[in-house]
Symmetry: C2
Subunit: 316 residues, 2 copies
Amino acid sequence: MRQPLSWGRWRAMLARTYGPGPSAGYRWASGAQGYVRNPPVGACDLQGELDRFGGISVRLARLDALDRLDAAAFQKGLQAAVQQWRSEGRTAVWLHIPILQSRFIAPAASLGFCFHHAESDSSTLTLWLREGPSRLPGYASHQVGVAGAVFDESTRKILVVQDRNKLKNMWKFPGGLSEPEEDIGDTAVREVFEETGIKSEFRSVLSIRQQHTNPGAFGKSDMYIICRLKPYSFTINFCQEECLRCEWMDLNDLAKTENTTPITSRVARLLLYGYREGFDKIDLTVEELPAVYTGLFYKLYHKELPENYKTMKGID
Amino acid sequence: MRQPLSWGRWRAMLARTYGPGPSAGYRWASGAQGYVRNPPVGACDLQGELDRFGGISVRLARLDALDRLDAAAFQKGLQAAVQQWRSEGRTAVWLHIPILQSRFIAPAASLGFCFHHAESDSSTLTLWLREGPSRLPGYASHQVGVAGAVFDESTRKILVVQDRNKLKNMWKFPGGLSEPEEDIGDTAVREVFEETGIKSEFRSVLSIRQQHTNPGAFGKSDMYIICRLKPYSFTINFCQEECLRCEWMDLNDLAKTENTTPITSRVARLLLYGYREGFDKIDLTVEELPAVYTGLFYKLYHKELPENYKTMKGID
């Protein structure tokens, strides 16, 4: 979404907007020569990059003499820079701060900056410079959990567990949170193996649940996806830390028991319907497609589409 | 997931583990009486709560005299506390820091703490105390975008836009990022209206895409969901800031054009299949169900299930 412009392209854009010459720069420094506007006394050399949405990104890790800079001088300098960026019509400021330089966070916050996000060893703060509420894109809003409904068609048995550490011991499908950059089907297969010792293959996505303000998601939202998996090992060796029980249960029994969660019950009934009428009635199948702009690939899930529709051959 | 114990229950648990008396406490303070172990000199009064996974949560906002505490004293105190928690067999420390007190972040980082997440006016750092890699749950990993495929069955027309600000002007469905706590269908309807001026109703989920290391998602993952919507207004009044063009296009034309993205093309063909053979072939319908533990409700999406399977009446 944010795509920093090259220095050259940025300079060209500024020149078009403000005309050439020293006053065109956003860069400012105490006592420095050149592209400086109202250099504040005793301040640092703040560098910013303009993005294609008119925002300025400042990466503190790239500043010279960062270790010797004190928080008060930084605040003074940032205040002057913000004033200048605002007068130049910039939309927003993004401030990227290495964790060991976090002494600069509070000074920025006192100028109105807020956390956009933080992870591992750095944080990003933002300040919206325009009128009205911020239009900056938010950070990741959902955690993704995946469960595997491992169904053995030949015996009509389905793999279920009861969580340890839960107040009510209800039968459910093994599953857990996706690791960073892990595909849905891979999470299902991994979690099933870790919890139960059963090896399986991804077949389809059966259902998607969206839930908000989840305490287990640090107040964020939760997307919980149940996949249909096909087992290729059958001897249970379950994780004693996570599970209290683990069984191969007749699918009819799971569809009828009250000792389960509403979502497990619903998906058991959906599976029973698929088992009797054909899994094509319930499955979302997966395909890999190319992204247009990033050159990356992604996984797309939808109901199976007949081949002639995929190619539009013989379709008027 | 994290559920702080009550003080009483926590004390009882500690007493069972360590026996009663002063040595049972995790609370420590310089010069304080009572439940103190090796009080460090010149340090603060760190309060922690034990969660049910054996982790300690420290909320700096609850500390007395926080404004007068300096970073060096905090670091000394935290170091001693971490040592004690480790010796007590605790699993992890969660440190919640108000943004204006961010001067305590770098001292914590120098003891090995990392950012778990930060939002708005506070950050949370963690330290894993056990052997091996951290088993703490990660923060939200996905942003969720939703597009609306607004299809008018009576004219076989579908609503499409071309983005402004894109290098290639390809036809696509209007859409955008979900707001915090917004349901999938609501995002689709809102984004379609904001971009095109068309009012519509949610009908179904058609497809789900998962993509990783997305530059537009700050390097996190992206879940992009396309919904089928039914229009109930037809006069286009599109947002000039976001869109270059907006049209009602014949569905056959969209299914055949090369001037579109792979995902739009695929969903257009899926829609064409549904239009000819019945939307039940392609739709995931939605239902609201209750969560067992939180008392919240959630939306569940899956292929339509016949009523007798939902109730299991007459199903053996």
